[in-house]
């Protein structure tokens, strides 16, 4: 089956490293959050070091690496947080 493209919004250090606020990466059917992170690493090598300590999220929830992304089309890459 053909792959599709998902959009990932980068934040904070991730946006600085990639030099972009949003990136599009291809994913295959049945892809998991880990697959999206792998695609990010492949297409944006500058993010590799940060990906291991970052979480993928939808607008509503953080995703475990093994979580299927189902039909979702857009995500956030969330590097270590420093609010408060």
């Amino acid at each position: 089956m053909a792959s599709r493209t998902v959009q990932v919004e980068l934040h904070a250090q991730a946006a600085d490293l990639a030099g972009l606020r949003t990136v599009d990466v291809p994913v295959d059917p049945g892809a998991t959050a880990a697959d999206v992170k792998r695609a990010l690493a492949d297409h944006h090598p500058s993010l590799r070091d940060l990906l291991g300590i970052s979480a993928l999220a939808t607008d509503r929830e953080y995703l475990r690496d093994g979580a299927p992304i189902d039909g979702a089309a857009s995500f956030h890459l969330v590097p270590p947080v420093s609010g408060g």
Binding site: H11, Q13, A57, P80, V81, S82
Partner: protein, 150 residues
């Protein structure tokens, strides 16, 4: 969660501690505890002028609501509220305010501590500190815990 017991907001506007305390007050609440996190003028020996807060929206607004609800579920509190700033916040201004009311002070203190700790652990917000020497730096942070990922 009853809307009248929970309040949360992620906003570029200045925060009002008085508004949150007024919200949390209730006839049955003998204790109202508030934590205000303010921008301080130093970080690791360097002079800080202001902090620029970046947020992931709408994830941040959704998560802040979840954390207030979580606090009401886990503690014997009457009302709980939390607000967080975005954008430029000057030294001395509040970047986050948490207010909790309960019948007694022990529970109010514990619930308030829980809510601010969880905000620092989970909320998708990032501090970019602007220093007096002209440099800027992202503050070190915490990786979102596995337990908070679905």
């Amino acid at each position: 969660m009853s809307a009248s017991r929970a309040r949360s907001r992620v906003t570029a506007e200045p925060l009002s501690e008085a508004d949150l305390v007024a919200f949390a007050a209730a006839p049955e609440a003998g204790a109202v505890v508030t934590f205000s996190g303010n921008v301080r003028n130093h970080h690791q020996g360097r002079e800080v002028l202001r902090i620029d807060y970046a947020v992931a929206e709408p994830l941040a607004s959704n998560k802040l609501g979840d954390l207030v609800d979580e606090t009401i579920e886990r503690f014997e509190v009457h009302r709980a509220a939390a607000e967080h700033r975005t954008g430029l916040v000057e030294v001395g201004e509040a970047s986050v305010i948490v207010t909790v009311s309960a019948s007694h002070r022990d529970e109010a203190f514990r619930a308030c501590r829980h809510l601010i700790d969880r905000i620092k652990e989970v909320l998708p917000v990032w501090k970019k500190e602007q220093f007096a020497d002209g440099s800027v730096d992202w503050a070190p942070g915490f990786a979102v815990p596995e337990a908070d990922r679905c």
